[in-house]
Structure formats: structure tokens, C-alpha cells
């Protein structure tokens, strides 16, 4: 006996039926599907073979590596310390590891919505960054001092990324607000500033920061090369992020600000309570994308002479016995980048879907 509830439901096609409709309808589609299956199977087999089956994992068998057809992961086994930590002293590697872990935890925590007020996010990042800095630099709590020249590898990459983000985000908000200012002088100046920095390659700005600014700034204003480069990078980041935030601000209906006006709210209250929350929701995908791009771009500092992960990778295989195994080293570094970048961009996509649901 068919109940009323059942008879109101649409007929459900089986999983097999859906698949065959999508993938196998028509001769062209079927051929394409079969080719794809074949290609993926081949690709998967080749990768698994190279990475796992025919590869060498142990540390000492350089000779075996020369004969093997698979990947020679021994090079990673032997050289991973240099790749991850650069020139950091061997005994203190635990500090570098811990610092990286702290920073990663900070990044993951930023994704939890409990933290999504300006105050909590700032406290989280400042705390995380300060912990990172103390762990790496030392000088307190009985830790030996290790100056930034010795920092390297993954830790340096993460440090640059975090520093650029912390300095760049508040700056980008200010720039975005400045460009939308009602005073035409400020709006034009900020606009020129943003357009100028956006039109230059990042490398030019980093190079200028590293090499030129010692001439231009008076002696007391100069800092270590690392900090100059970070400031330059942060300005570049802020200009791009400011445009994203500005787009988000522009998408807010003017009535929102008017409602704030009629309630008697001041400019800063309106900006921070009404405009910015909505602007961030509007342009969140672009904002997160900018972070993703920035993480990838940290690799460029290698050109201005920093020993971050790419440079340390080059150093790792550059010596003697491992020179043939550059592919494994690059694959390892690429894998590390891939994990960070892919997670971040997946998170951005997830956020985008989630925020769209509650949208007015």
C-alpha cells in the first residue's frame, strides 16, 4: 500500500542511473570518460610507483639511489633539517619547530568563528606572533639569542608571512578608508599611492627595500634588512588588500550607512560596527585569496638574499652526492607549499559557501 507521503515524493533514480547519465550518455561522452579513467589510472599508478613503490627511503644508500627508478627520498631524510630550519643551530631546532607549530595553530585558530571580532583576532595574532618571535630570537627565559640572519627554511617563510599579515591588514583597512574619504586630497593621494605600488612587481619593491632604502632613510630609521623587506612587502600586500576591502565597501547599500547616521553613530562607530563587518563578508573570497598569494610570494625573498625554504632547498641538493636529486627536493618543497596554500584556499571556498547561506 502506497502511503500519502510516499506518493508525494519524486521518483528517485539510482546512483548508477545518475552516473551513467552524466558520464556515458552519447558515444563522445563515453569515449571521453573512458579516456579519462585510463589517464587517471595511469597517472595514479605512475605517481604511486615513483613516490612509494620503487623509491628509496633510507638515509645512507646513495649508491642505491643511483640505480633506483623511483624517487630517492634519502635526500630528504638526510637534508631535511637544512630545508626546514636553514642555518639555525642544531641544538635549538626544537625552538624552530615549536615556533612553526605555534604559528600554524594561530592560523588554524583564525578560522574558528569564535575569533571573528577585531579585538579577538588581533589579540590572537599578536600573541601567536610574539610567542614565535620569542622562541626564535631568544634572549628571554634563558634561551640563547639567535639573530634573524641565522633564521632560515620553513620558519623564515612562516615568519615573513605572519609579519606581513600583521602589519599589512590594519594598513590595508586604513588605505581602503582613505581612498573612500570625502576629502578629495586624501582620496587622490591614497589612490595614487595604491596604484603606484600595485603596478610594480613585488620583486622591485623588495629590492628597493633591501638595497635602496639605506640611502634614503636617515641612519636611525634603518632596521635590519629582514625588517625593511617585511615592511616593503607589507605595503605591497596592503595595497592589494585595500582594493579588495574597498570593493566590499562599495557593495554595501548606502542605506546602511544612512541608518547608522540617523541613529546618531559617529564615523568610526559606523565604519567599525556597520561597514567593515559587511565589507569583509562581501569580499571574503578575495581577501583570503590575497593571503594565499602572499604565502606563495614569500618565496620571492630568496632573490633578495634570504635563506628561506627555496634557497635552503637549493643548498640541500647542491652539495656533492645529492646533485642529481633535485626533483625530490623540489617535490618536497612543492608539497609543503601545496599543503599550506591548498588548505587556505579550500578554507576560503568553504567560507564563501557558508556566508552565502545567511545572506540577506
Amino acid at each position: 500500500m502506497v502511503t500519502v507521503a510516499e506518493s508525494n515524493l519524486p521518483p528517485r533514480s539510482s546512483w548508477l542511473a545518475i552516473m551513467s547519465k552524466r558520464l556515458f550518455d552519447g558515444p563522445v561522452n563515453t569515449v571521453v570518460t573512458l579516456l579519462c579513467i585510463g589517464f587517471f589510472a595511469w597517472l595514479l599508478y605512475w605517481i604511486i610507483d615513483w613516490v612509494f613503490l620503487s623509491s628509496i627511503w633510507s638515509k645512507d644508500d646513495v649508491e642505491q639511489c643511483k640505480e633506483a627508478t623511483g624517487a630517492c627520498w634519502s635526500v630528504i631524510h638526510a637534508r631535511h633539517r637544512i630545508i626546514l630550519f636553514g642555518l639555525f643551530p642544531f641544538e635549538e631546532h626544537w625552538r624552530s619547530t615549536l615556533a612553526c607549530v605555534v604559528m600554524i595553530v594561530t592560523m588554524i585558530a583564525s578560522c574558528v568563528s569564535w575569533f571573528w571580532t577585531a579585538r579577538r583576532l588581533s589579540i590572537l595574532w599578536v600573541a601567536g606572533f610574539a610567542t614565535f618571535y620569542v622562541l626564535m630570537q631568544g634572549g628571554y627565559f634563558g634561551l640563547t639569542t639567535i639573530t634573524p640572519e641565522r633564521w632560515g627554511g620553513l620558519a623564515l617563510t612562516i615568519f615573513i608571512f605572519a609579519a606581513v599579515s600583521i602589519i599589512g591588514m590594519p594598513l590595508s583597512v586604513l588605505l581602503a578608508l582613505g581612498r573612500r574619504s570625502k576629502l578629495p586630497v586624501i582620496a587622490k593621494l591614497v589612490g595614487l599611492f595604491i596604484d603606484f605600488f600595485r603596478s610594480l612587481p613585488l620583486l622591485t619593491i623588495l629590492f628597493t627595500a633591501a638595497v635602496i632604502t639605506p640611502f634614503v632613510l636617515p641612519g636611525w630609521l634603518q632596521g635590519d634588512k629582514l625588517y625593511r623587506v617585511i615592511v616593503g612587502f607589507a605595503i605591497f600586500f596592503a595595497c592589494y588588500q585595500a582594493e579588495n576591502i574597498r570593493a566590499g565597501l562599495q557593495a554595501i547599500p548606502p542605506g546602511q550607512d544612512e541608518a547608522g547616521l540617523t541613529l546618531g553613530l559617529s564615523y568610526w562607530h559606523r565604519v567599525f560596527r556597520i561597514q567593515l563587518p559587511q565589507a569583509f563578508r562581501n569580499s571574503l573570497p578575495a581577501i583570503i585569496n590575497q593571503f594565499v598569494i602572499t604565502f606563495k610570494e614569500t618565496s620571492i625573498v630568496t632573490i633578495v638574499g634570504f635563506f628561506e625554504i627555496l634557497a635552503s632547498g637549493n643548498a640541500a641538493y647542491g652539495t656533492g652526492e645529492w646533485t642529481q636529486h633535485y626533483i625530490e627536493v623540489y617535490a618536497f618543497i612543492g608539497f609543503i607549499y601545496f599543503i599550506f596554500v591548498f588548505s587556505l584556499s579550500r578554507y576560503g571556498a568553504y567560507l564563501e559557501k557558508r556566508l552565502r547561506v545567511g545572506h540577506v
Binding site: 547599500p253 544612512e258 540617523t262 559617529s266 562607530h269 563587518p277 545567511g358
Partner: protein, 252 residues
Amino acid sequence: MSDQQSNAQAAVTMSGVNKWFDEFHVLKDIELNVTLGEKIVICGPSGSGKSTLIRCICKLEDHQRGDITVLGKALNDDISNIDEIRREVGMVFQQFNLFPHMTVMENCTLAQMLVRKKSRKEAEEIAMNFLNKVRIPEQAMKYPGELSGGQQQRVAIARSLCMNPQIMLFDEPTSALDPEMISEVLDVMVSLAEEGMTMVCVTHEMGFARRVADRVIFMDGGEIVEQNEPETFFNKPQNERTQLFLSQILQH
């Protein structure tokens, strides 16, 4: 009548107000006096400048010539003046303009805590009081996107009332609502009027005007064409343009 006027306090005074949008002369020599406790309804065809007029009262639009005085303070470019005035004047928009990223309760308490400097507890009590008044206390923790148009507009009214304004401005509050939700909003406005709030409403709802207004003003082409008590206005319109407008709008 002049005795009444001199005893009653002036809420809004507009004299010789002119406004241009580029070349378009949108307000022409407006003279308007609203006393405290008065309820004014402004009607007229679209483009007649009625929305612009009340937006000028809370300085959402600037006027190029003439004087506007609100609650004894002149409306000029002095920012602190404008802020003081805006605190005492509440406005309800056609598009509701609720803050979508805050709950109903947060919408109502935000300005109280930031501008009137009330504690969260106080602000929430006041907010619940007004939410009760507009008859949606149970929606306090919901987001605007989860409410119907009529409910959103009532929240908007409550939000303005939480600031304890002396004057309430309404810019076509029911024009964006589906017909079945109009009456719930109008009911709230009527009870507000019966409590003695000074109101200036731009609306097409003539039934509301008849019931509540002390004066009905007809605007056309940027000028105030006719103003009168509702009885006289609707039954014996004097100006030809008023008669034409009324015949068009009162058909249904």
C-alpha cells in the same frame, strides 16, 4: 491659532528652503512648520521631492538655500550640531536598512550602547520594551534575513525608538512591503501617533493619513501645493493639482 502656535514648541521649521540636484530644482521655496506632538503626512506624485524634504531634516541631504531648524537648533555645517540633532530625530526607511550581520536585539542596542552610553543590560531592557511594543518580542535573537518584510520594518521602527527620539520621520515605510504586511506596520505607527510622538510621514496610505494626521501636505514638482486638516484635504481639496492626484490615488 497663533496663541497655540506660540505656546507649542517648534519641532521643525523650514523657511525658504531650496535644493538642486545639479541642474534639477528639486525643492522650491519650502515653508514648513511642525510643532511638537503634530503628525504630518506628506503625499504627492513620485519625483515631487517629498523624500528629499524629510531627508533634509536629518541632513542626509544638503540644502543650498534657506534655513532649517530642528528642535531649536539650526541645521548647518557644524558637525557637533548635526550629531545632536540626529540623536533626537529617528528615521524609518523604505528599505528598512537593518544591519544584516547583527541580530534584531543587537540592531536595537548598538546605538544605545555606543551613543547613549548605556550598559548592555539597560539597553537590552529598553530594546525588549520596544520590541514588545511593535509586537515581535520573540524575534529578538533572529537575524534580519530570517524575518519577513513587515517584521523587519517593525524592528526598524523599534530600533529608532530605542534612541528615544523626539521626532520620528518615515520615508514611505510601507512601499516595499507586500500588501498583507502593510497593516501590521501601520498599526504600529498608529499606536505611536496615539502616544503623542511628533511624526512626519511620507506615504501613500491615505487611510492612515485620515486616521492619524493633524495635517496633510500635498507636494508636486518640488513645491508645497496645499496643506490642510485631513477632513478638508480629502473632501474639499482646493487646488486643481491636488484634486487630480486624489482622484488618481483614491480610485482603489
